[in-house]
């Protein structure tokens, strides 16, 4: 079968690539990108959004989370079949809010207005340029795509939770139990998960492939979220980043987050 031959050639190619990059990655250690797929001849889909380095800007001054707005979280969690678990310790979160003081522990001081210190800030996976989670994963179940998205393969994850330990931003959730009973409705456009795997935001890779912006971005009536290609200097996000003072979370760690904040 043609598929078999194609699959075999691919597997063989990737093995060579993986071994090659693997060896180099030990020497270079940090920016390893094993399993890097070769540029594909197949289109992701005719009208797919294609970028070189996707990023997100969160304008907390526009965000209405203080007034109880949960639009982005609801849209995201509905789109990705993220369950609502009753016990906080088992919670699964792709995008949620943390107080300013917890999000930017380096930027707070005691004379700051409580309104700022306690302001809710939307947090999600930072899709780091140099992601610690990818470095520690023992099976390449999580990796960085050429367009910068830190992706997950739930078929491959063994549930060791090393990525959750390695993430400095608490962006990863583990399925401590079967999530399905806690889903009010199932979105057929996206799989649910099985107990025992880790999950997180994937910058809506499945929506980008269909030419749609991430669900959180589209759902925000305040236009507080701007998504775009950081490699494109004419993109909206680049224009905004050049004109405002934007922060990233824990920049000293060298992870180079691609989620930026206006505070």
């Amino acid at each position: 079968m043609d598929g078999n031959r194609r699959g075999f050639l691919k597997a063989a190619g990737f093995t060579v690539l993986a071994v090659g990059t693997g060896t180099v990655s030990v020497l270079r250690s940090a920016r390893a990108r094993p399993d890097a797929p070769t540029p594909s001849s197949q289109p992701a889909g005719a009208n797919a959004l294609v970028g070189k380095r996707w990023g997100l800007l969160v304008d907390t001054t526009r965000c209405k989370a203080r007034e109880g707005c949960q639009d982005c979280r609801r849209a995201c969690h509905r789109a990705h079949n993220v369950p609502d678990l009753p016990e906080p310790r088992h919670e699964i979160k792709w995008i949620w809010t943390e107080r300013f003081r917890n999000t930017f522990p380096d930027a707070e001081h005691e004379f700051m207005a409580p309104a700022i210190l306690d302001r809710p800030v939307a947090v999600l996976c930072n899709h780091c340029e140099n992601p610690p989670c990818v470095r520690v994963c023992p099976t390449k179940a999580t990796w960085k795509r050429p367009d910068g998205i830190v992706m997950m393969d739930w078929h491959r994850c063994i549930g060791c939770r090393f990525c959750a330990v390695g993430c400095p931003y608490g962006a990863r959730s583990f399925n401590w139990r079967d999530p399905r009973p806690f889903l009010k409705e199932q979105n057929p456009d996206f799989p649910t998960r099985y107990r025992g795997v880790v999950e997180k935001c994937t910058f809506c890779d499945e929506r980008l492939a269909r030419g749609l912006l991430p669900a959180c971005v589209v759902s925000c009536k305040q236009k507080a979220l701007t998504f775009g290609d950081l490699a494109d200097d004419r993109s909206e996000i680049r224009r905004l980043l050049a004109s405002v003072r934007a922060l990233r979370r824990k920049p000293a760690l060298g992870t180079m987050p691609k989620v930026f904040y206006v505070v």
Partner: protein, 127 residues
Amino acid sequence: MYDAGKILFGLLVLAGLTTLPVWYNVARGKAGPQPQLTVGTTEKQCVLPTAEMRAGHMALLDEWRTRVVRHGEHATRTSGGREVRMSLTNTCLGCHAQKDQFCDRCHDYAAVKLTCFECHVVPKRSK
């Protein structure tokens, strides 16, 4: 080897027991019943010819999974030249709408546990 005779006899009995279903069918002189599948569509052609699908659908699904998840490719061309989305829930179950009369029947028959739908959603259809 001590007790070689007893050990060999025991092994023979074990081999006989495990292959019992085969001997049963041989003695009966005909093969066991085949599962009856409901294809569930009027579409003439699957993404590959039927014989290839029957023999190799798991390899195809595996390839689709790798391409979608790991390489970010979402569309593919069928052997008939149609462009389809590589999606188990939307494309495969889009035609084979009755999973319980298609996937499950054969898999139950062959006693091969199907884990796909522990995550992939089976759409509810009013039929």
